[in-house]
């Protein structure tokens, strides 16, 4: 897909390549946030540092996708898969996808952990259900 990265967002994607989920943390208001920005969306602060997350959280919402419009070419063969919003234990919510096929047993509140997945030259922070 090769969406271009800025010098700020590249830090996130490079960390994924190294198997780490890193989010920015605002030193002015002491809050983490996602997605990467050049200023904190809570207070406008620009004293930001990158912190490694545990990569664990819960499913905040989900959708089993049966019709893949756009996206990676290979997706049409992968449906149904599950698009998720993850509530990270450390605070921010992320939009992501569960690895593998959609499973009817998925529900809001299920525990998940990050599962880095290689696709077309990118390493993507997908998630997997645990327990």
């Amino acid at each position: 897909m090769n969406v271009p990265h800025s010098s700020t967002t590249a830090v996130f994607w490079d960390a994924c390549k190294a198997g780490q989920l890193k989010l920015q943390h605002c030193q002015d208001c002491d809050k983490p946030f996602y997605y990467p920005r050049t200023a904190c969306p809570s207070c406008g602060g620009t004293r930001l540092e990158w912190r490694q997350m545990k990569g664990t959280g819960t499913i905040y919402s989900f959708s089993h996708v049966h019709l893949a419009l756009g996206g990676y070419k290979s997706w049409e063969a992968e449906v149904p898969f599950t698009l998720v919003q993850i509530q990270l234990d450390e605070g921010p919510r992320m939009l992501s996808r569960l690895v593998g096929k959609a499973e009817e047993s998925v529900k809001i509140g299920d525990r998940v952990t990050v599962a880095f997945t290689e696709r077309e030259g990118e390493t993507l922070p997908y998630f997997r259900r645990t327990g």
Binding site: M1, V3, P4, H5, T9, Y34, Y35, Y60, S61, F62, S63, H64, V65, H66, L67, A68, L69, G70, G71, W75, P80, L83, Q85, R93, M94, L95, S96, R97, I108, R119, E122, L124, Y126
Partner: protein, 389 residues
């Protein structure tokens, strides 16, 4: 609170056929809608000195208002392109026109949107890429299909979890909209549907089925806005804009806020308060309905139904013609057709003008239009008042 001039009125509407307009370009559709709107109130292009246009989403170009003005041969003192997002833009265009008239830039402004988004779609594409609507592709495209249904579905699933909304409630929305569309000759969906048809329609992105999703069409609509002074001179009965609101919280799903943080609730309160009315005073309403969840959320946020009870409200017939407050009487994006949201605004104006024929809400005087854009990212709304019928 935004102040609206009490002496600016809406006097005419124009709509093109909707559906597949083969061989008609985007600018031709917009010009067609403008001509129809002017004819509706007995004006000609010579009377127009202001133009507000929303550019087509399929093939946008910069400076689109100039493209339309040039095509129509307009040499005018006020022209602007406006795109807030989705159906929120239509209310924004009326506001822009009212401000331009109020500040003396022009006296007669036409607002227009239209596009050949179905027949004019680039080859080998299916639907729109979400980045066209909502940006944020760097942190969205790698995970989901970059198209709207799955992203709205995330709000729908969460809403079911928080408020107990059921699949059948979404189905009630789909059926009610189809029933209204059957009374609109310019609606693309012509067949009645039942709850059983809805439940049997194919899955798209859970909890959404095919009949939860609006139907993309080509089409155009235009509205004529005028100073009250000019309208009185011409003997035209105008529709007043009593209150207007807009609230923004995010754009794409990656920035999507929690349901109780959405801009809908503060928008609804401000809209009603600034008009000095409540939901019980509204005779007819049109709300965003790109997906069935939108209607549930709007009804429950604007105070027509309690949280989790919009399905019951619809099944009781309150949102249907003859009910407490008929909703989306034209069939909406779900069953008339979806190209932006301007036909919503046209419908409320025509209801207040008493021009809706067999789907007319008898005696309609106070109307509400609410639009949305992005993934519940922006809410806009307007309360309008018609002359006593």
């Amino acid at each position: 609170m935004p102040k609206l001039n009490q002496d600016v009125v809406i006097v005419g509407t124009g709509e093109t056929p909707v559906g597949r307009l083969h061989g008609v370009s985007g600018v031709e559709i917009q010009a067609w809608a403008v001509r129809n709107a002017l004819a509706d109130c007995g004006l000609t292009l010579r009377d127009v000195d202001g133009l507000v246009s929303q550019q087509p989403y399929n093939l946008p170009n910069s400076g689109y208002c100039l493209t339309v003005a040039e095509y129509l041969g307009l040499r005018i003192p006020y022209c602007a392109t406006l795109d807030i997002a989705g159906t929120a833009t239509s209310v924004g265009m009326l506001q822009q026109a009212a401000w331009a008239i109020e500040t003396g830039h022009c006296e007669v402004a036409v607002c227009v949107h239209g596009e050949n988004s179905v027949t004019g779609r680039p080859k080998d594409t299916h639907g729109f890429a979400l980045q066209i609507f909502a940006g944020g592709e760097e942190f969205e495209a790698p995970f989901g299909p970059p198209s709207p249904p799955a992203h709205y579905a995330l709000y729908a699933q969460r809403y079911m979890h928080e408020y107990g909304t059921r699949q059948e409630d979404f189905g009630a929305v789909a059926v009610a909209h189809r029933n209204h569309a059957l009374l609109n000759d310019n609606a693309v969906m012509k067949k009645p549907i039942t709850l059983e048809d809805y439940m049997a329609s194919k899955p798209i992105a859970s909890p959404f089925k095919l009949l939860d999703c609006s139907i993309p069409v080509d089409g155009g609509g235009a509205v004529v806005v005028m100073s009250g002074k000019r309208a009185r001179k011409l003997g035209l009965k105008g529709i007043r804009m009593r209150s207007i609101v807009e609230r923004v919280t995010h754009n794409a799903m990656v920035g999507g806020v929690a349901i109780d943080e959405l801009g809908l609730e503060p928008a609804a309160k401000e809209l009603m308060n600034s008009a000095g009315i409540g939901p019980e005073d509204i005779d007819v309403a049109v709300v965003h309905d790109a997906f069935t969840i939108s209607v549930i959320l709007m009804l429950e946020t604007f105070g027509f139904a309690k949280r989790g009870e919009a399905g019951d409200y619809i099944r009781a017939g309150h949102a249907s013609l003859g009910g407490k407050c008929p909703l989306n009487t034209h069939g909406g994006l779900l069953s008339q057709g979806h190209f932006g949201g301007f036909l919503h605004t046209l419908e409320i104006i025509r209801q207040l003008q008493g021009k809706c024929g067999r789907r007319q809400v008898e005696g309609a005087r106070i109307g509400m239009v609410s639009g949305g854009g992005g993934i519940f990212a922006v809410t806009s709304g307007m309360i309008m008042e018609g002359p006593a019928q």
